[in-house]
Amino acid sequence: MDNNSRFKRYLKLDLLPTPWCPGCGNGIALKTICQAFDELDLPKQGTVVVSGIGCSGRSAGFFDLDSVHSVHGRAIPVAEGIKYAHDALNVVVVSGDGDLLGIGGNHLLHAIRRNTNITVICYANEIYGMTGGQVSPTTPHNTKTLTTPQAIRITPLMFSLSLSTVIAFLPALRRII
């Protein structure tokens, strides 16, 4: 394999094409994750991918690695459990915004507090896409969706905005404890 297609070793090629709709961004993100894995040369035996539920949750099945398709919103606790049980593994969570920020928001907050050495990748598509277009935590201000026909008036939750203070606060917290 040449350098450009070396990332394909992290994918189950016989399962492709993916079931996502034409024009979806998840496939691009999946490819980019594989390229990043390839650049760091992560071992196939020592990497675990955990995903939640949703369109993006499907992506765990396409990695040619050990992967867990966990329950809705609880991808991070599963990943943390794996990391605590076997510290040498690289644990990556791949999930969507409705799963991580909406239903699993509490788990995300506490994962930050515990500062577990895992990587969380969130496909934020600003909507609950799989169930038909309901409003999600990242839906931008003043957008009409299926469940907000008169446009949403709530500020969207952006991780960088609302939780950056938590990250900045973490080292200080550690010192107090």
Binding site: G23, F37, N115, M158
Partner: protein, 70 residues
């Protein structure tokens, strides 16, 4: 985006990447985008890249780091 993933994978401690993806079928279609390329170009126009910032605004993307905890 690959740079973000690389930084996140290398970072010791909890790291979080928020990738903006487009959902054309259930979201873009209702907003009036004809195809996903149009939606992607809108994202490109709307989100500004701000690499070395302490805090990000609503329409900015960039990398935020805390000091690594031993």
């Amino acid at each position: 985006m690959k740079k973000c993933f690389l930084e996140a994978l290398k970072f010791k401690g909890f790291s979080f990447v928020e990738a903006r993806t487009m959902c054309i079928v259930n979201y873009g279609r209702r907003l009036g985008y004809k195809n996903s390329n149009e939606m992607l170009l809108h994202y490109k126009e709307f989100y500004k890249i701000n690499d070395d910032a302490e805090e990000l605004a609503q329409n900015e993307i960039g990398i935020l780091k805390s000091t690594p905890v031993s």
